[in-house]
């Protein structure tokens, strides 16, 4: 019987359900990056290639958002906060989605880099969630007439921030106990469970009467006029690239620390 060999995987011999699970569980990506040395070979140049274009896009987008686009008919100049508030919200929620995916990869496939990625995402994710909350508050004061209200969107976003703090505390504790990559199974499960909050944040303004406005950009189109919308694309992409670069830098730092620590332990044992 002819056997289709695919990246070290014999698909032809497997029962059907494993045919399905095989390519998913053993995706090329996972094997290729399972080896930290091979990951670093790609991560080193990628850090630079994400950081500088990200920063450039971000500065152009923010500059256009500050000085080029017109003021909003109702909010006036404060509409410009949108160009940083929306990417911050996107990264705060995207960051936790990344933590959840990394947790799944750690728990199911025992991928050696998953724990490293999860721990690397936590701090910038928490930071951008905080930026989202703060810029929202600064926008709310002149627009709504209040710095903070306990409506569905704001409360669920604050919960996300506390989830990040909890994850960071758990990850630091497990790193001190010498867990691989610094994320224990408990921490990973916490990251997975916390992901429940992400759809709640997203839907909060639809399910519940909230002070925060409904979604402006939906699959059907945008209720933000084109003349105000375009810098948002630049800042969204810019912040995302920068976030990627920050995560890569933190992953590289953790991998290097692990290497030093492993060597120290070997030396201590003689």
């Amino acid at each position: 019987m002819a056997t289709l060999r695919f990246d070290g995987l014999a698909i032809g011999k497997m029962p059907y359900w494993r045919c399905l699970a095989g390519p998913v569980t053993d995706a090329i990506l996972m094997h290729r990056f399972a080896n930290p040395a091979r990951f670093l070979k790609i991560a080193r140049p990628l850090t630079t290639w994400l950081f500088w274009p990200g920063l450039l896009l971000l500065l152009i987008g923010a500059g256009c958002g500050l000085f080029v686009t017109p003021a909003d008919y109702l909010q006036g100049q404060t509409v410009r906060i949108l160009y940083i508030h929306v990417p911050a919200a996107w990264l705060g929620m995207g960051g936790w989605s990344g933590i959840a995916i990394a947790a799944l990869m750690q728990l199911v496939w025992r991928h050696p880099l998953a724990a490293v990625a999860g721990r690397a995402i936590a701090a910038p994710g928490a930071l951008f969630t905080a930026i989202c909350l703060m810029t929202g508050s600064i926008w709310g004061r002149p627009t709504w007439g209040t710095w903070w209200e306990w409506d569905g969107r704001m409360t669920s976003m604050l919960v996300l921030f506390f989830l990040y703090l909890g994850y960071i505390a758990l990850a630091n504790a497990s790193a001190r106990q010498g867990q691989q990559g610094g994320v224990s199974s408990v921490t990973a499960i916490f990251g997975l469970v916390g992901a429940v909050n992400i759809p709640i944040i997203n839907r909060s303004v639809v399910w519940w009467n909230s002070l925060h406005q409904g979604p402006s950009i939906t699959l059907r189109g945008s209720s933000i006029d084109g003349s105000l919308l375009w810098p948002l694309g630049l800042t969204l992409l810019g912040f995302s690239l920068l976030f990627g670069a920050i995560v890569l830098m933190r992953m590289r730092a953790i991998l290097a620390e692990n290497k030093v620590e492993a060597r120290m332990q070997r030396l201590a044992r003689g």
Partner: protein, 43 residues
């Protein structure tokens, strides 16, 4: 003009936060990788 105060505050918070996390991440990476490289030099 008062509105600009809010805009500037929001951008300043974002700029400071992004700069701090980028800089600390980069410095942590550089020092950790330097220590790791020194190890491999000594064999």
């Amino acid at each position: 003009m008062n509105q600009w105060a809010f805009v500037i505050a929001a951008y300043a918070v974002t700029l400071a936060g992004t700069a701090i996390v980028s800089l600390t991440s980069w410095r942590a990476m550089r020092s950790a990788e330097r220590r790791a490289d020194q190890l491999s030099d000594r064999g």
